[in-house]
């Protein structure tokens, strides 16, 4: 992979030069404790020291509410213009969130390809950014603390400069468009980067053990732990909304006021919601909260592994931060693991 150096004093100029490659979306500080990905009009808004944003960048690729198509009594069903052909740049995406997007890619490809999702994906370039983990990050356990593809450029902080990995031809175009801002990388900087990466490891305070977890999940299917968590869970669905890999959606038809035309839309859903598995006639396949909580953990750490070979969790810590009942995925998995050894 090609690597160049971007001195920090050139960053602002570089971000400005990127605007000709598309609309920039980057983290901003909303208040003292909250960061968000937001549309950037002025590069001074960008806050690259953020820990985790409230919502992951999936909100751009899989919007909370999205249109599938239009319909009318006369014309039937017709495609809508989505505006996804506009180019955009997600700037400052952490490694875990890049892994999160790659997990969404797995789900929306396969035998039935969601072309709407992939059109958006193709038109969105990703510029990654290194980070320092806090006490809720467990990406190291999930193997998502580093990323080797799924971005165009990746910026790693080496104090006075960023070491910039160029992963795609588009990334190369971006660098070449403001070539004078970049410098060659010397041996010294590479060493510095390696040192920084090692230092990052020291910041981790949270780990989970993934080894044989799917098997343990099977063994602990009847564990009382699920009922205990079910008692605590409020079924609010916050963990799903903030999760970079949760993709479940509900579908609804929205009629216009004339009653003749409308749109079919998707809306984020959560497997924790009471009506998630409710079907016409009143049968609810998961009416118990404990069954829904268990299903969520099973899907992420057992089912997804069976289906795609890896868990659908990237260790970003958002669900830990957002849970009003203080349910902590790390504690749950540790508990389940200890249940298996009692």
């Amino acid at each position: 992979m090609q690597i160049v150096k971007l001195p920090k004093q050139n960053l602002d100029k570089f971000i400005k030069s990127l605007s000709k490659f598309g609309q920039i979306y980057a983290p901003i500080k909303k208040d003292a404790n909250t960061s968000l990905f937001s549309k950037i009009e002025d590069s001074s808004q960008i806050d690259l020291g953020y820990n985790r944003t409230l919502l992951p960048p999936k909100k751009y690729l899989l919007p909370p509410i999205d249109s599938m198509f239009r319909f009318s009594a006369e014309a039937g069903y017709e495609e809508v213009e989505h505006g996804v052909d506009e180019k955009s740049i997600l700037f400052g995406v952490h490694s875990c969130d890049i892994h999160g997007l790659r997990i969404l890619d797995l789900v929306f490809s396969g035998r039935y390809v969601d072309n709407h999702y992939f059109t958006g994906r193709k038109n969105t370039s990703i510029i990654g950014l290194s980070c320092i983990p806090d006490d809720m990050c467990f990406c190291r356990s999930m193997g998502t603390d580093f990323v080797e593809n799924g971005f165009d450029l990746f910026l790693s902080d080496i104090d006075q400069s960023y070491l910039v990995r160029i992963a795609t031809s588009l990334g190369d175009d971006m660098v070449r468009a403001s070539q004078s801002l970049f410098k060659e990388v010397g041996k010294e900087e590479i060493e510095k980067h390696k040192k920084k990466s090692n230092e990052m490891q020291k910041h981790f305070k949270t780990d989970i053990e993934l080894y044989n977890l799917p098997e343990i999940m099977d063994l602990e299917y009847e564990s009382k732990t699920w009922e205990e968590i079910g008692e605590k869970c409020l079924s609010c669905g916050s963990c799903s909304m903030v999760c970079p890999t949760c993709y479940c959606y509900d579908v609804f038809d929205e009629l216009s006021l004339d009653g003749k035309t409308g749109e079919r839309k998707t809306r984020w859903d959560s497997c924790l919601f009471e009506d998630y598995a409710l079907v016409a006639g009143g049968t609810n396949f998961r009416s118990e909260r404990s069954a829904r909580v268990k299903n969520r953990y099973f899907h992420k750490h057992r089912g997804f592994v069976a289906q795609y070979g890896k868990p659908s969790c990237v260790g970003c810590g958002r669900c830990i931060q957002s849970c009003p009942a203080k349910i902590n995925v790390v504690e749950v998995i540790t508990k389940i693991r200890s249940d298996a050894y009692v």
């Binding site: 599938m68 198509f69 319909f71 009318s72 009594a73 039937g76 069903y77 495609e79 789900v107 929306f108 396969g110 035998r111 039935y112 390809v113 969601d114 072309n115 709407h116 299917y221 993709y247 479940c248 959606y249 509900d250 579908v251 609804f252 038809d253 009629l255 009653g259 409308g262 079919r264 998707t266 859903d269 497997c271 998630y276 598995a277 409710l278 079907v279 016409a280 006639g281 396949f285 998961r286 069954a291 299903n295 099973f298 899907h299 057992r302 089912g303 997804f304 592994v305 069976a306 289906q307």
Partner: protein, 285 residues
């Protein structure tokens, strides 16, 4: 499996094709058989499916629901869907006049593994509305009679008034190339021309070699338990018991998550599961 609805780069996999309701045949109370004809002739000609598959049916302005296909692919031209009036979507469907346009996309799901089943005996076990998807397999087998050895239908309903496709199935009683066993739990007037009693009692009426037989089962949740028990007693191996199991199949294409059980989506990995699959997936039966 490309069924004329397979996608190219620009296709929207969620966009239904228009179809016209050409007939509405009343069945038992709150059940109707809808015959649909796809509007676009090319799509209509390319629309093929296998027994056990389902479509997503849209009512313009109301929504979409998964409905299993009740017709056999051996009889092309129209798709037949047997629908119970039970929710918002089906309520709207029942109100639609003849010739109305609806939306159809699919077919989805795995359907029955016909290639494996060929050359074997076929034992169809249905209860209540479970006949809706199995009717497709029944007519497929009868229209391709030479593909199977013995064909046996066991179908139970509470009372005669609640037996789906009753008149059609009663005509099968005279056929000599199959066994048609129709039972009702209760026959107070004593007029039912066939068996009386629960569906599992019918197992005593015949012998089949379980090594060369596939059982196809669909019915209310409680039935799976009793029927699988009987089949296991009859020495069926678990992968020769095929069950149609459904969940909330919303998108039909394995994306929206609602029909997930364990690590399977009922919409793409099912709705036909072997009994072995079913007992190894949590929550399945």
């Amino acid at each position: 499996m490309c069924n004329g609805t397979c996608t190219s780069d620009t296709d929207n996999i969620y966009q239904p094709h228009l179809a016209r309701i050409v007939r509405r045949l009343p069945q038992i109370k709150d059940h109707r058989l809808f015959q649909l004809r796809l509007e676009d002739s090319e799509i209509r000609q390319n629309f093929s499916y296998r027994p056990g598959q389902f479509v997503e049916l849209s009512i313009i302005g109301t929504g979409e629901a998964p409905i299993s296909i009740s017709s056999s692919p051996t009889r092309s031209g129209v798709i037949e869907l047997c629908v119970r009036r039970i929710g918002r979507m089906t309520e709207a469907l029942f109100r639609l006049p003849l010739n109305s346009l609806v939306g159809v996309r699919g077919p989805y799901g795995n359907g029955f593994p016909l290639e494996q089943m060929r050359g074997n005996n076929l034992l169809i076990v249905a209860g209540g509305l479970g006949m809706a998807p199995l009717r497709s397999l029944l007519w497929y087998a009868l229209d391709n009679r030479s593909l199977f050895k013995e064909v046996i239908l066991m179908f139970g309903a509470k009372v005669a008034e609640e037996m789906l496709f009753k008149y059609e199935l009663l005509t099968l009683l005279d056929r000599t190339d199959m066994r048609c066993l129709l039972t009702v739990d209760k026959d107070e007037e004593g007029t039912w021309p066939a068996q009386v009693g629960v569906v599992t009692k019918l197992f005593d009426l015949f012998e089949v070699d379980p090594k060369i037989t596939y059982a196809a089962v669909c019915g209310p949740p409680i039935m799976y338990k009793f029927v699988s028990k009987k089949l296991l007693e009859k020495k069926f191996s678990k992968d020769r018991i095929l069950m149609s199991l459904e969940r909330k199949m919303k998108c039909g294409v394995g994306k929206c998550g609602h029909c997930m059980i364990g690590y399977k989506y009922t919409c793409i990995d099912g709705p036909i599961f072997t009994y072995w699959d079913a007992i190894n997936l949590p929550e399945m039966i």
